[in-house]
Protein backbone atom coordinates (compact mmCIF):
# COMPACT_ATOMS: atom_id res chain seq x y z
CA UNK A 1 0.00 0.00 0.00
CA UNK A 2 1.37 3.38 -1.00
CA UNK A 3 0.66 6.16 1.47
CA UNK A 4 2.38 9.51 1.94
CA UNK A 5 4.63 10.09 4.95
CA UNK A 6 2.92 11.96 7.79
CA UNK A 7 2.29 15.68 7.40
CA UNK A 8 0.15 18.43 8.86
CA UNK A 9 -2.94 19.49 6.92
CA UNK A 10 -4.16 23.06 6.63
CA UNK A 11 -7.02 24.38 4.53
CA UNK A 12 -6.67 27.89 3.10
CA UNK A 13 -9.80 30.01 2.83
CA UNK A 14 -8.31 32.80 0.70
CA UNK A 15 -5.15 33.62 -1.24
CA UNK A 16 -3.98 35.85 1.62
CA UNK A 17 -4.62 33.02 4.07
CA UNK A 18 -2.67 30.58 1.88
CA UNK A 19 0.27 33.00 1.70
CA UNK A 20 0.17 33.55 5.47
CA UNK A 21 0.21 29.77 6.03
CA UNK A 22 3.15 29.40 3.63
CA UNK A 23 5.06 32.07 5.52
CA UNK A 24 4.25 30.56 8.89
CA UNK A 25 5.28 27.02 7.95
CA UNK A 26 8.33 27.87 5.85
CA UNK A 27 9.93 26.04 2.92
CA UNK A 28 8.74 22.58 4.04
CA UNK A 29 5.14 23.54 3.32
CA UNK A 30 3.51 22.86 -0.04
CA UNK A 31 0.28 23.98 -1.62
CA UNK A 32 -1.97 21.19 -2.86
CA UNK A 33 -4.56 21.79 -5.58
CA UNK A 34 -5.77 18.77 -7.56
CA UNK A 35 -2.95 16.76 -6.04
CA UNK A 36 -2.65 14.40 -9.00
CA UNK A 37 1.08 15.05 -9.33
CA UNK A 38 2.00 15.90 -5.75
CA UNK A 39 0.27 12.99 -3.99
CA UNK A 40 1.87 10.31 -6.24
CA UNK A 41 5.25 11.96 -5.60
CA UNK A 42 4.57 11.94 -1.87
CA UNK A 43 3.65 8.25 -2.00
CA UNK A 44 7.04 7.57 -3.61
CA UNK A 45 8.82 9.86 -1.11
CA UNK A 46 10.04 11.98 -4.04
CA UNK A 47 8.32 14.84 -2.23
CA UNK A 48 8.05 14.99 1.52
CA UNK A 49 6.40 18.22 2.68
CA UNK A 50 5.89 18.72 6.42
CA UNK A 51 2.71 20.69 5.84
CA UNK A 52 0.13 20.53 3.06
CA UNK A 53 -1.96 23.64 2.47
CA UNK A 54 -5.15 22.73 0.62
CA UNK A 55 -6.22 25.52 -1.76
CA UNK A 56 -9.23 23.75 -3.29
CA UNK A 57 -11.56 26.16 -1.48
CA UNK A 58 -10.12 29.11 -3.43
CA UNK A 59 -12.89 29.15 -6.04
CA UNK A 60 -12.08 32.81 -6.80
CA UNK A 61 -9.02 31.44 -8.65
CA UNK A 62 -11.23 29.32 -10.93
CA UNK A 63 -11.87 31.46 -14.02
CA UNK A 64 -11.12 31.97 -17.71
CA UNK A 65 -11.84 35.54 -18.77
CA UNK A 66 -10.83 38.31 -21.13
CA UNK A 67 -8.78 40.90 -19.26
CA UNK A 68 -7.78 43.77 -21.53
CA UNK A 69 -5.64 42.38 -24.34
CA UNK A 70 -5.07 39.02 -22.64
CA UNK A 71 -6.92 35.90 -21.59
CA UNK A 72 -6.55 35.47 -17.84
CA UNK A 73 -6.77 31.95 -16.42
CA UNK A 74 -6.99 31.48 -12.65
CA UNK A 75 -4.57 29.03 -11.04
CA UNK A 76 -7.36 26.77 -9.74
CA UNK A 77 -8.99 26.32 -13.15
CA UNK A 78 -9.34 22.58 -13.75
CA UNK A 79 -8.33 20.84 -16.95
CA UNK A 80 -12.00 19.95 -17.59
CA UNK A 81 -12.88 23.66 -17.52
CA UNK A 82 -10.06 24.52 -19.92
CA UNK A 83 -11.25 21.79 -22.27
CA UNK A 84 -14.80 23.16 -22.31
CA UNK A 85 -13.92 26.88 -22.32
CA UNK A 86 -15.60 28.70 -25.22
CA UNK A 87 -13.38 31.75 -24.69
CA UNK A 88 -10.21 29.70 -25.00
CA UNK A 89 -11.50 27.76 -27.97
CA UNK A 90 -12.49 30.90 -29.83
CA UNK A 91 -9.06 32.50 -29.48
CA UNK A 92 -6.78 29.50 -29.13
CA UNK A 93 -8.01 26.05 -30.23
CA UNK A 94 -4.54 24.79 -29.21
CA UNK A 95 -5.94 24.52 -25.67
CA UNK A 96 -8.72 22.14 -26.67
CA UNK A 97 -6.32 20.10 -28.82
CA UNK A 98 -4.00 19.73 -25.83
CA UNK A 99 -6.63 19.20 -23.15
CA UNK A 100 -8.29 16.39 -25.08
CA UNK A 101 -5.07 14.38 -24.66
CA UNK A 102 -4.05 15.40 -21.13
CA UNK A 103 -4.63 12.42 -18.81
CA UNK A 104 -8.26 11.20 -18.83
CA UNK A 105 -11.65 12.80 -18.14
CA UNK A 106 -11.68 11.83 -14.46
CA UNK A 107 -8.17 13.17 -13.79
CA UNK A 108 -9.06 16.31 -15.74
CA UNK A 109 -11.84 16.93 -13.20
CA UNK A 110 -9.17 17.51 -10.54
CA UNK A 111 -5.91 18.66 -12.11
CA UNK A 112 -5.41 22.44 -12.36
CA UNK A 113 -3.44 24.72 -14.64
CA UNK A 114 -1.57 26.20 -11.66
CA UNK A 115 -0.59 22.76 -10.45
CA UNK A 116 0.52 21.72 -13.93
CA UNK A 117 2.87 24.68 -14.26
CA UNK A 118 4.21 24.42 -10.69
CA UNK A 119 4.87 20.70 -11.04
CA UNK A 120 7.03 21.64 -14.05
CA UNK A 121 7.25 18.11 -15.37
CA UNK A 122 9.50 18.16 -18.47
CA UNK A 123 6.83 16.21 -20.39
CA UNK A 124 3.92 18.43 -19.35
CA UNK A 125 1.62 19.67 -22.11
CA UNK A 126 0.35 23.05 -20.90
CA UNK A 127 3.93 24.26 -20.43
CA UNK A 128 4.46 23.75 -24.17
CA UNK A 129 1.14 25.46 -24.94
CA UNK A 130 2.03 28.43 -22.73
CA UNK A 131 5.51 28.65 -24.18
CA UNK A 132 4.20 28.54 -27.76
CA UNK A 133 1.78 31.36 -26.96
CA UNK A 134 4.47 33.34 -25.06
CA UNK A 135 2.18 33.75 -22.06
CA UNK A 136 3.12 34.92 -18.60
CA UNK A 137 2.69 33.74 -15.05
CA UNK A 138 1.45 35.94 -12.22
CA UNK A 139 3.03 35.10 -8.86
CA UNK A 140 1.87 36.52 -5.54
CA UNK A 141 3.45 36.82 -2.14
CA UNK A 142 2.57 38.93 0.86
CA UNK A 143 5.02 41.51 -0.53
CA UNK A 144 3.07 41.93 -3.77
CA UNK A 145 2.63 40.57 -7.28
CA UNK A 146 5.18 39.89 -10.00
CA UNK A 147 4.84 38.61 -13.53
CA UNK A 148 7.25 36.17 -15.18
CA UNK A 149 7.25 35.22 -18.88
CA UNK A 150 6.46 31.52 -19.27
CA UNK A 151 9.70 31.17 -21.22
CA UNK A 152 11.58 32.24 -18.08
CA UNK A 153 9.35 30.41 -15.60
CA UNK A 154 11.03 27.00 -15.62
CA UNK A 155 14.50 26.69 -14.08
CA UNK A 156 14.72 23.04 -15.16
CA UNK A 157 12.78 19.85 -14.55
CA UNK A 158 10.47 20.30 -11.53
CA UNK A 159 12.04 23.72 -10.79
CA UNK A 160 10.23 27.02 -11.25
CA UNK A 161 10.48 30.69 -10.34
CA UNK A 162 7.86 30.24 -7.61
CA UNK A 163 9.78 30.61 -4.33
CA UNK A 164 8.64 29.45 -0.92
CA UNK A 165 5.94 31.76 0.47
CA UNK A 166 4.92 32.55 -3.10
CA UNK A 167 1.95 31.30 -5.07
CA UNK A 168 1.11 31.09 -8.76
CA UNK A 169 -2.26 32.83 -9.04
CA UNK A 170 -2.84 33.38 -12.77
CA UNK A 171 -1.70 32.42 -16.26
CA UNK A 172 -2.02 35.15 -18.90
CA UNK A 173 -2.08 34.61 -22.66
CA UNK A 174 -1.89 37.62 -25.01
CA UNK A 175 -4.79 37.78 -27.48
CA UNK A 176 -3.68 37.80 -31.12
CA UNK A 177 -6.43 38.66 -33.56
CA UNK A 178 -6.89 36.11 -36.35
CA UNK A 179 -4.15 33.81 -35.10
CA UNK A 180 -4.43 30.09 -35.82
CA UNK A 181 -3.12 27.55 -33.31
CA UNK A 182 -2.88 23.79 -32.85
CA UNK A 183 -1.36 21.04 -30.68
CA UNK A 184 -0.12 17.63 -31.81
CA UNK A 185 0.91 14.84 -29.43
CA UNK A 186 2.05 11.25 -29.72
CA UNK A 187 1.41 9.09 -26.66
CA UNK A 188 1.83 5.36 -26.16
CA UNK A 189 -1.71 4.90 -24.90
CA UNK A 190 -4.73 7.04 -24.10
CA UNK A 191 -4.04 9.43 -21.25
CA UNK A 192 -0.30 8.87 -21.07
CA UNK A 193 2.45 11.45 -20.94
CA UNK A 194 3.74 12.54 -24.34
CA UNK A 195 6.45 10.63 -26.17
CA UNK A 196 6.74 14.04 -27.79
CA UNK A 197 4.36 16.89 -28.53
CA UNK A 198 4.42 20.21 -30.34
CA UNK A 199 2.16 23.25 -30.31
CA UNK A 200 2.10 26.38 -32.40
CA UNK A 201 0.34 29.60 -33.21
CA UNK A 202 0.63 31.41 -36.54
CA UNK A 203 -0.48 34.92 -37.46
CA UNK A 204 -0.73 35.60 -41.18
CA UNK A 205 -0.38 38.83 -43.11
CA UNK A 206 -1.68 37.66 -46.45
CA UNK A 207 0.44 34.60 -47.14
CA UNK A 208 3.33 35.79 -44.97
CA UNK A 209 3.87 34.55 -41.43
CA UNK A 210 3.69 37.79 -39.45
CA UNK A 211 4.34 36.04 -36.15
CA UNK A 212 4.74 32.48 -34.97
CA UNK A 213 5.21 30.68 -31.66
CA UNK A 214 6.33 27.09 -31.19
CA UNK A 215 6.10 24.93 -28.08
CA UNK A 216 7.72 21.53 -27.56
CA UNK A 217 7.47 19.09 -24.68
CA UNK A 218 9.18 15.84 -23.64
CA UNK A 219 12.11 16.43 -26.00
CA UNK A 220 14.44 18.48 -23.80
CA UNK A 221 13.75 21.74 -25.61
CA UNK A 222 15.04 24.68 -23.57
CA UNK A 223 12.05 26.54 -22.06
CA UNK A 224 9.69 24.25 -24.00
CA UNK A 225 10.36 26.09 -27.26
CA UNK A 226 12.66 26.47 -30.27
CA UNK A 227 13.46 30.11 -30.97
CA UNK A 228 15.58 29.25 -34.03
CA UNK A 229 12.57 27.62 -35.69
CA UNK A 230 10.40 30.65 -34.99
CA UNK A 231 13.06 33.01 -36.36
CA UNK A 232 13.41 30.83 -39.46
CA UNK A 233 9.71 31.16 -40.26
CA UNK A 234 8.80 34.68 -39.17
CA UNK A 235 8.48 36.99 -42.19
CA UNK A 236 8.49 34.11 -44.69
CA UNK A 237 5.66 32.83 -46.84
CA UNK A 238 3.58 30.12 -45.18
CA UNK A 239 4.56 27.49 -47.76
CA UNK A 240 4.94 23.78 -46.96
CA UNK A 241 8.69 24.06 -47.65
CA UNK A 242 9.15 26.94 -45.21
CA UNK A 243 7.08 25.20 -42.54
CA UNK A 244 9.17 22.06 -43.02
CA UNK A 245 12.40 24.06 -42.74
CA UNK A 246 11.23 25.48 -39.41
CA UNK A 247 10.23 22.02 -38.21
CA UNK A 248 13.69 20.76 -39.09
CA UNK A 249 15.14 23.37 -36.68
CA UNK A 250 13.08 21.75 -33.91
CA UNK A 251 14.51 18.35 -34.83
CA UNK A 252 18.05 19.73 -34.67
CA UNK A 253 17.61 22.03 -31.66
CA UNK A 254 15.91 19.74 -29.16
CA UNK A 255 17.74 17.46 -26.75
CA UNK A 256 15.63 14.38 -26.00
CA UNK A 257 16.63 11.57 -23.65
CA UNK A 258 16.21 7.92 -24.51
CA UNK A 259 13.81 6.20 -22.12
CA UNK A 260 10.99 3.65 -22.08
CA UNK A 261 8.98 5.95 -24.36
CA UNK A 262 11.50 5.75 -27.18
CA UNK A 263 15.03 6.36 -28.45
CA UNK A 264 16.54 9.76 -29.23
CA UNK A 265 16.23 9.60 -33.02
CA UNK A 266 12.55 8.68 -32.80
CA UNK A 267 11.84 11.62 -30.48
CA UNK A 268 13.74 13.99 -32.78
CA UNK A 269 11.70 12.66 -35.67
CA UNK A 270 8.53 13.34 -33.69
CA UNK A 271 9.70 16.87 -32.80
CA UNK A 272 10.02 17.63 -36.51
CA UNK A 273 6.90 15.85 -37.70
CA UNK A 274 4.60 17.11 -34.91
CA UNK A 275 5.89 20.69 -35.31
CA UNK A 276 5.17 20.49 -39.03
CA UNK A 277 1.65 19.21 -38.37
CA UNK A 278 1.00 21.87 -35.71
CA UNK A 279 2.27 24.65 -37.98
CA UNK A 280 0.30 23.35 -40.96
CA UNK A 281 -2.88 23.16 -38.93
CA UNK A 282 -2.26 26.60 -37.39
CA UNK A 283 -1.89 28.13 -40.86
CA UNK A 284 -5.10 26.46 -42.03
CA UNK A 285 -6.97 27.71 -38.98
CA UNK A 286 -5.53 31.22 -39.42
CA UNK A 287 -7.01 31.11 -42.91
CA UNK A 288 -10.38 30.25 -41.42
CA UNK A 289 -10.33 26.69 -42.68
CA UNK A 290 -11.93 24.00 -40.58
CA UNK A 291 -8.74 22.15 -39.67
Amino acid sequence: MQVPAPFEYERATSVDHALALLERHGPDARLIAGGHSLLPMMKLRLARPEVLIDINALSDLDYVRIDGDAIAIGAMTRHATLLDSAVLHEHYPIFRDAERVIADPIVRNRGTIGGSFCQADPSEDLSAVGSALRGSIVIRSSAGTRTVPIREFHDGPYETKVASAEMLVEVRIPIRPSAGSAYEKVERRAGDWAVAAAGAFVQLDGDVVADVGIGLTAVGAPHFTCVAAEDALRGKAATPANLAAAAQQCHDGCNPQADQRGPVDYKRHLARELTLRALTRSVARARGENA
Binding site: M1, Y9, D104, I106, V107, G191
Partner: protein
Protein backbone atom coordinates in the same frame (compact mmCIF):
# COMPACT_ATOMS: atom_id res chain seq x y z
CA UNK B 1 -7.79 15.47 12.91
CA UNK B 2 -11.61 15.23 12.94
CA UNK B 3 -13.30 15.34 9.56
CA UNK B 4 -17.00 15.52 8.78
CA UNK B 5 -18.48 14.84 5.37
CA UNK B 6 -21.60 13.47 3.76
CA UNK B 7 -21.23 9.97 2.34
CA UNK B 8 -24.16 8.67 0.32
CA UNK B 9 -26.44 11.16 2.02
CA UNK B 10 -25.35 10.39 5.57
CA UNK B 11 -23.19 12.71 7.62
CA UNK B 12 -20.14 10.98 9.07
CA UNK B 13 -17.48 12.28 11.45
CA UNK B 14 -14.26 10.39 12.08
CA UNK B 15 -10.81 11.08 13.47
CA UNK B 16 -8.22 10.40 10.78
CA UNK B 17 -4.60 11.00 9.96
CA UNK B 18 -4.18 13.81 7.41
CA UNK B 19 -2.38 11.37 5.11
CA UNK B 20 -5.33 8.96 4.91
CA UNK B 21 -6.45 8.61 1.30
CA UNK B 22 -10.15 8.86 0.52
CA UNK B 23 -10.27 5.31 -0.88
CA UNK B 24 -8.96 3.89 2.41
CA UNK B 25 -11.28 6.12 4.43
CA UNK B 26 -14.25 4.72 2.53
CA UNK B 27 -13.11 1.09 2.61
CA UNK B 28 -11.31 0.71 5.93
CA UNK B 29 -12.88 3.35 8.15
CA UNK B 30 -16.46 3.32 6.87
CA UNK B 31 -16.50 -0.27 5.61
CA UNK B 32 -17.78 0.76 2.17
CA UNK B 33 -15.80 -1.82 0.20
CA UNK B 34 -17.72 -1.31 -3.04
CA UNK B 35 -15.12 1.26 -4.05
CA UNK B 36 -12.08 -0.67 -5.19
CA UNK B 37 -8.44 0.15 -4.61
CA UNK B 38 -6.35 -0.64 -7.66
CA UNK B 39 -3.26 0.95 -9.13
CA UNK B 40 -2.72 3.63 -6.45
CA UNK B 41 -1.44 6.00 -9.16
CA UNK B 42 -4.67 7.53 -10.56
CA UNK B 43 -4.41 5.45 -13.73
CA UNK B 44 -6.86 2.56 -13.40
CA UNK B 45 -10.06 4.19 -12.17
CA UNK B 46 -11.26 1.33 -9.94
CA UNK B 47 -11.50 3.86 -7.09
CA UNK B 48 -13.70 6.44 -8.84
CA UNK B 49 -16.26 8.07 -6.54
CA UNK B 50 -18.15 11.33 -6.84
CA UNK B 51 -17.41 14.43 -4.77
CA UNK B 52 -20.06 17.14 -5.06
CA UNK B 53 -21.41 15.38 -8.16
CA UNK B 54 -18.09 15.12 -9.99
CA UNK B 55 -16.15 11.86 -10.29
CA UNK B 56 -12.57 11.71 -9.09
CA UNK B 57 -9.99 9.08 -8.29
CA UNK B 58 -10.14 8.49 -4.56
CA UNK B 59 -6.65 6.93 -4.40
CA UNK B 60 -5.24 10.34 -5.26
CA UNK B 61 -7.40 12.42 -2.94
CA UNK B 62 -6.93 12.87 0.78
CA UNK B 63 -9.96 12.15 2.94
CA UNK B 64 -9.18 15.48 4.64
CA UNK B 65 -9.63 17.28 1.30
CA UNK B 66 -13.22 16.06 1.06
CA UNK B 67 -14.21 17.20 4.55
CA UNK B 68 -17.30 19.38 4.24
CA UNK B 69 -18.17 17.88 0.87
CA UNK B 70 -20.63 15.26 -0.38
CA UNK B 71 -19.17 11.90 -1.42
CA UNK B 72 -21.16 9.37 -3.41
CA UNK B 73 -19.98 5.78 -3.86
CA UNK B 74 -21.16 2.81 -5.88
CA UNK B 75 -23.25 1.67 -2.89
CA UNK B 76 -25.55 4.63 -3.55
CA UNK B 77 -26.43 3.68 -7.15
CA UNK B 78 -29.14 1.27 -6.02
CA UNK B 79 -32.03 3.19 -4.51
CA UNK B 80 -34.87 1.64 -2.52
CA UNK B 81 -34.24 -1.82 -3.88
CA UNK B 82 -34.09 -0.63 -7.48
CA UNK B 83 -30.84 -0.99 -9.38
CA UNK B 84 -29.59 1.98 -11.34
CA UNK B 85 -30.03 1.40 -15.09
CA UNK B 86 -26.23 1.32 -15.33
CA UNK B 87 -26.12 -1.61 -12.90
CA UNK B 88 -28.93 -3.30 -14.77
CA UNK B 89 -27.07 -2.72 -18.03
CA UNK B 90 -23.90 -4.33 -16.71
CA UNK B 91 -26.00 -7.38 -15.77
CA UNK B 92 -27.92 -7.55 -19.05
CA UNK B 93 -24.89 -7.09 -21.30
CA UNK B 94 -22.38 -9.00 -19.20
CA UNK B 95 -20.38 -5.82 -18.60
CA UNK B 96 -18.09 -7.47 -16.10
CA UNK B 97 -15.94 -10.53 -15.86
CA UNK B 98 -13.79 -10.34 -12.71
CA UNK B 99 -15.65 -7.24 -11.49
CA UNK B 100 -12.66 -5.32 -10.23
CA UNK B 101 -13.08 -2.29 -12.49
CA UNK B 102 -16.88 -2.37 -12.26
CA UNK B 103 -17.57 0.14 -9.45
CA UNK B 104 -15.38 2.79 -11.09
CA UNK B 105 -16.80 2.02 -14.52
CA UNK B 106 -20.35 2.41 -13.25
CA UNK B 107 -19.69 5.66 -11.38
CA UNK B 108 -18.07 7.12 -14.49
CA UNK B 109 -20.90 5.83 -16.70
CA UNK B 110 -23.62 7.29 -14.47
CA UNK B 111 -21.84 10.68 -14.60
CA UNK B 112 -21.68 10.48 -18.38
CA UNK B 113 -25.35 9.57 -18.74
CA UNK B 114 -26.44 12.35 -16.39
CA UNK B 115 -24.73 14.85 -18.68
CA UNK B 116 -25.36 13.09 -21.98
CA UNK B 117 -28.34 10.70 -21.89
CA UNK B 118 -27.66 9.23 -25.34
CA UNK B 119 -23.90 8.98 -25.89
CA UNK B 120 -22.51 7.25 -28.96
CA UNK B 121 -19.86 4.57 -28.73
CA UNK B 122 -16.87 6.87 -29.22
CA UNK B 123 -18.16 9.25 -26.53
CA UNK B 124 -18.50 6.32 -24.11
CA UNK B 125 -15.03 5.04 -24.93
CA UNK B 126 -13.48 8.48 -24.45
CA UNK B 127 -15.31 8.94 -21.14
CA UNK B 128 -14.15 5.61 -19.69
CA UNK B 129 -10.58 6.08 -20.97
CA UNK B 130 -9.46 6.63 -17.37
CA UNK B 131 -11.05 3.35 -16.27
CA UNK B 132 -9.04 0.28 -17.15
CA UNK B 133 -10.57 -3.21 -17.50
CA UNK B 134 -7.80 -5.80 -17.38
CA UNK B 135 -10.23 -8.47 -18.55
CA UNK B 136 -10.41 -6.19 -21.62
CA UNK B 137 -14.17 -6.47 -21.62
CA UNK B 138 -14.65 -3.06 -23.20
CA UNK B 139 -17.06 -4.22 -25.91
CA UNK B 140 -19.53 -5.44 -23.30
CA UNK B 141 -18.94 -2.44 -21.05
CA UNK B 142 -19.79 -0.08 -23.88
CA UNK B 143 -22.87 -2.19 -24.65
CA UNK B 144 -23.84 -2.03 -20.95
CA UNK B 145 -23.70 1.76 -20.97
CA UNK B 146 -25.69 1.83 -24.22
CA UNK B 147 -28.26 -0.48 -22.58
CA UNK B 148 -28.56 1.95 -19.66
CA UNK B 149 -29.00 4.84 -22.10
CA UNK B 150 -31.79 2.95 -23.84
CA UNK B 151 -33.50 2.07 -20.54
CA UNK B 152 -33.48 5.22 -18.38
CA UNK B 153 -35.07 4.94 -14.96
CA UNK B 154 -38.71 5.91 -15.17
CA UNK B 155 -38.48 7.70 -11.84
CA UNK B 156 -35.18 9.29 -10.91
CA UNK B 157 -34.59 8.68 -7.21
CA UNK B 158 -33.91 11.77 -5.12
Amino acid sequence: MDITMTVNGHEVTREVEPRLLLVHFLRDVLGLTGTHWGCDTSNCGACVVWVDGTPLKSCTTLAAMTAGHAVRTVEDLEQGGHLDPVQEGFMQEHGLQCGFCTPGMMMTARWLLDRNPDPDESTIRECISGNICRCTGYENIVRAVRWAAAHPATEVPA
